[in-house]
């Protein structure tokens, strides 16, 4: 009887292992294109989850701040838990989940996502959620994020969503079946290319500028969660020129920050002080900063963080120095690689393959 039970158990385990292997094979790897899909999962590979600062939010965090620069200039450790068009409820649950691993001194949240009060696109949901291991915050985030035609079970068993990829499997799927390369630098997705700003579209008038109740609800929850855990929440708006950040939106965030005793910085008001040059510091004509712009912004913000929040300079910590020296080396190598590729091809391959498909 016992032997029979053991045999059945082993059979079930082998079957489950095979299904997991199949699932891993069929899921997109995000190693050579759409690198943004690989962002969320990289956090869990961090050996030393002890960061002074955690950034959460959309591409305006993962493209505009460099944790390596923050370390090198101020000895502040950080990680960016960003993803493409991350919605505020996804940010909240990601923060809740992060606090299961560590308790940073500061959480920095980019407020652009306050403009989205409904789920936007399955692709973005997948990029925010598929990289998270199963957890209660993940389940809640899935429920809050799903589009009408999505199914909850496909987030628990992604094989049910990606099975049709069997006909699209490539060498990448097999190469990265068991282990993926890191594509970010503590969550920062590097871009060294330059596309200057020429003109920015005129902003449209809106019928209603008030942020939705659901967005305020999640902002309140974020504020409360940080307060309960003794964490300083800092609200920011990145200095990107498009999409337009309305004065009416800015006023709401200012008022919210004042009512809740939070620091809010709209970096759009300080571009001169920061030294941002939109002819050289953006890779897509003002939507996001490139490496040059990100490092300038990080230097500026790092000073504020260090001075206003009394963050210690941890560069004297031997263990941390060793870890971050390795990170800095990888960062420098990636910079060299990107500049070389830019010189050879005129563009960065990893960020332009899909553009070529659409044109």
């Amino acid at each position: 009887m016992v032997k029979k039970a053991i045999k059945i158990t082993i059979t079930i385990m082998i079957t489950a292992a095979l299904l997991i292997l199949l699932q891993n094979l069929l899921m997109p790897k995000y190693m050579t294109e759409i690198l943004e899909g690989a962002l969320i999962s990289e956090y869990y590979r961090e050996e030393n989850k002890d960061h002074d600062v955690i950034f959460i939010g959309d591409c305006e965090v993962y493209e505009n701040f460099s944790p390596i620069t923050l370390w090198q200039e101020y000895g502040i450790t950080s990680f960016i838990r960003g993803s493409a068009q991350q919605l505020i409820w996804q940010s909240y649950y990601l923060l809740e989940e992060t606090l299961m691993y560590e308790k940073p001194k500061i959480v920095v949240f980019n407020v652009l996502s306050m403009k989205y009060d409904t789920p936007q696109k399955e692709a973005y949901n997948r990029m925010a959620l598929d990289g998270m291991p199963l957890s209660v915050p993940k389940l809640k985030s899935i429920k809050a994020s799903m589009m009408e035609d999505e199914k909850f079970i496909t987030y628990i068993f992604p094989i049910l969503r990606y099975h049709s990829r069997w006909s699209e499997l490539s060498a990448e799927d097999f190469k990265y079946l068991f282990r993926k390369d890191k594509v970010t630098h503590n969550g920062y997705l590097m871009r060294v290319d330059v596309k200057p700003v020429t003109s920015i579209p005129q902003p449209k008038k809106l019928a209603n500028y008030r942020f939705s109740d659901i967005c305020y609800e999640y902002l309140d929850r974020m504020t409360r969660l940080c307060r309960e855990n003794g964490i300083e929440l800092v609200l920011i708006k990145a200095p990107t020129l498009y999409p337009h950040w309305y004065d009416e939106w800015d006023k709401q965030i200012e008022e919210y920050a004042a009512e809740n005793g939070l620091l809010y910085i709209n970096f759009l008001e300080y571009t001169d002080e920061i030294g941002i040059d939109y002819q050289t510091d953006t890779y897509d004509a003002g939507l996001h900063l490139n490496l040059s712009g990100a490092e300038k912004l990080t230097r500026y913000f790092g000073k504020i963080l260090a001075e206003q929040f009394d963050l210690p300079d941890r560069r004297n910590d031997e263990g941390l120095s060793r870890i971050w020296a390795a990170k800095a080396e990888r960062y420098a190598l990636e910079m060299e690689r990107q500049y070389a590729e830019l010189e050879e091809l005129g563009y960065l391959k990893a960020f332009n393959t899909r553009r070529d498909e659409d044109e």
């Binding site: 045999k7 759409i34 068009q85 692709a123 099975h163 579209p201 008038k205 019928a207 500028y209």
Partner: protein, 201 residues
């Protein structure tokens, strides 16, 4: 012993068969639904309306009903193919590309004298996603422009509008024509896709 091996083999095959069955069932359901995004590669940008008024054979539509903008005899309607329109209009005053995060699509914004339109891409072709007025040098076909009043709008389009705060919208099944008023005057005229008519914030 032999009997146990048979049981194990049958169990494994049964589990695999159930798994394949679930996959096939899920695939059948997915294919029935429109608008599923291919997120593993070759993604599709925001889809256009499948309703009438969509000429995707490279021709500017002839007799069109419903709401569309006309500029110097050139008809510009929501979900119309953009290439022939742009060719007819000539080089824009400004052109702006806004790739979405992770390149999940690309907004292309063309500015001409008095108006601006945005396109979306579907099956490697660009279509008109929205059009709005930049100033009062252009009007709708029914004669409404910036600084018009609500009375002017109702006289032109009737009172069967949907109101959302100070926005008044009319739909023809393919396009939503909306007017935003401030202090009693029109400050915004926009033609947009039905799936894409959302307020900011």
């Amino acid at each position: 012993m032999k009997k146990n091996k048979v049981i194990i083999l049958v169990t494994v095959l049964a589990v695999i068969a159930v798994g394949i069955g679930l996959l096939l069932l899920n695939q059948a359901e997915s294919e029935d639904k429109a608008g599923n995004t291919d997120i593993s590669g070759g993604g599709v940008n925001s889809g256009g309306s499948e309703t009438a008024g969509n000429d995707q054979n490279g021709k500017i539509p002839g007799e069109k009903k419903g709401y569309y903008f006309e500029y110097r005899g050139i008809r510009i309607g929501i979900n119309d193919e953009a290439a022939p329109i742009i060719e007819a209009l000539g080089k824009p005053m400004h052109y702006f590309e806004a790739p979405s995060c992770a390149f999940e699509g690309m907004d292309k914004i063309y500015s001409y004298s008095g108006f601006e339109f945005t396109t979306y891409t579907k099956n490697n072709k660009d279509y008109i996603a929205s059009l709005f007025f930049l100033d009062d040098t252009v009007t709708t076909r029914e004669g409404i422009t910036l600084n018009a009043t609500l009375d002017d709008i109702v006289a032109a389009y009737g009172s069967d509008y949907e109101q959302n705060f100070n926005e008044y919208s009319y739909s023809d099944g393919n396009c939503i024509l909306s007017f935003i008023l401030e202090n009693g005057k029109v400050v915004s005229v926009e033609y947009s896709m039905i799936a894409d008519n959302s307020n900011g914030g």
